[in-house]
Symmetry: C2
Subunit: 224 residues, 2 copies
DNA sequence: AGTCAATTCGAACGAACGTTCGAATGAGTC
DNA sequence: GACTCATTCGAACGTTCGTTCGAATTGACT
């Protein structure tokens, strides 16, 4: 007897040789159902009873798998973000061209976004829903992702001798990409490949100075 | 006796010759305090007791000014959005140049955003928090604003003979601009004028085809 | 001072919230 | 069948939620 859930909650020590247990499978089922609910009703707006109904498990049963609603959101966000970063690093390996690397970054982001829209909406929309410990651990991953993108843009700037503000450029790029969850309709809008090509064009041309060595922004584009 | 609030809730018929009553003044005070709270804790996360504390009025007293928490959010969002559209139209009047009109659009949006950050965060972040009637009335304003921007971009495309997808371009622009509430720090980042210049540069150069008549996106920029 | 309506409030309503607990199941081993 | 541990559940905990109501207070006008 005693509290069985205590042993079950002990995290795995070695993430590498992980045998996929029944516990792990059940947990990720719950996470995926919860993601849908959080996406539809928001973190604060979704109740534990909503999650219970969606995952087909009793209210009390859920607490065998995580100790609080906040930790549940944390698990979802961390898994989503970690996966995105992991895939990105794999895709960047071996590619040297600065432009191509930025295009890979955009494609990776949009592809995962469109194929896991609910998870990515929860990640971006419920950005500051977590508190203290949870928040800071997630902020660390976010900062790594941001820095990585800054590195790509800085490299591109160096190669092309540009002077735009990296911070503004990167934040604008994130804005373009993350805003997608508010408007993208799979039945109307194009897929990740075309969208990332379009946004890549806008972004790369956008931060590249005018062709004939004119330094300033395009001003009074003559009609000739 | 009787319910005094019923008469008070009747909306003004003629918005033009409106005498600013004590009621109106008090209401907008409450709205501005509520905006701060919604901004900090989110719509669902903020309780009526939070709003009561922030505005220095009793819990019951609030209900003299609006009949539900949802209507309160609606009033905030509608007022904010209407003001932005109104200012924009005034600024666009008399300006014919397509590029200049887009730059005015961006400046107007960012300027209001940065000077009324809490209100604009509530407007963009609590986008789908409203239900049914409230939601559709707000969606109408949003659609008008969107169409207006589409018109500006289409005109720019026509003048310059461009072929980019208007929808993707406009949505990317909104993404760049609206994402600001997640990262802008007044003590570090530049103001509305410079930001709108930078974003305007990125966007306008971005949707403009390569300089030497090359039609496609910049590809394999040679290092020569 | 007295009157009437506009405004504000304390106290409470029922409902829903996140979480807990002990008992009931399920699955695997003797 | 009996023992064990992992998993699930019904029922309830105390708290907070949005909202209401009748009474008290205020402000404007005679």
């Amino acid at each position: 007897m005693g509290s069985p859930s205590i042993a079950a909650r002990i995290p795995r020590r070695h993430p590498a040789p992980e045998p996929i247990t029944r516990y792990d499978r059940r947990l990720s089922e719950i996470l995926s159902h919860a993601t849908e609910v959080f996406c539809k009703k928001g973190y604060e707006g979704a109740s534990m009873r909503d999650l219970s109904r969606a995952s087909g498990m009793s209210l009390a049963g859920l607490y065998y798998y995580f100790e609080s609603k906040e930790r549940l959101l944390f698990l979802i966000q961390k898994h989503t973000f970690t996966t995105v970063v992991l895939r990105l690093k794999a895709r960047l390996a071996g590619v040297d061209d600065a432009e191509e690397r930025i295009r890979i970054f955009i494609l990776n982001h949009l592809e995962y976004f469109l194929h896991n829209q609910p998870a990515m909406k929860v990640l971006t929309h419920e950005d500051d829903a977590l508190k203290n410990g949870f928040a800071s651990e997630l902020a660390a991953i976010k900062r790594e992702y941001y820095r990585l993108c800054v590195g790509l843009v800085d490299e591109f700037k160096k190669v092309h001798g540009l002077q735009v503000s990296t911070r503004t450029a990167v934040m604008s790029l994130f804005g373009m990409m993350n805003w997608i969850y508010t408007w993208h309709n799979p039945r109307v809008d194009s897929g990740a490949e075309q969208l990332s090509r379009e946004m890549g064009d806008v972004f790369l041309r956008g931060i590249t100075a005018g062709a004939r060595g004119r330094k300033g922004p395009l001003r009074k584009v003559s009609e000739s």
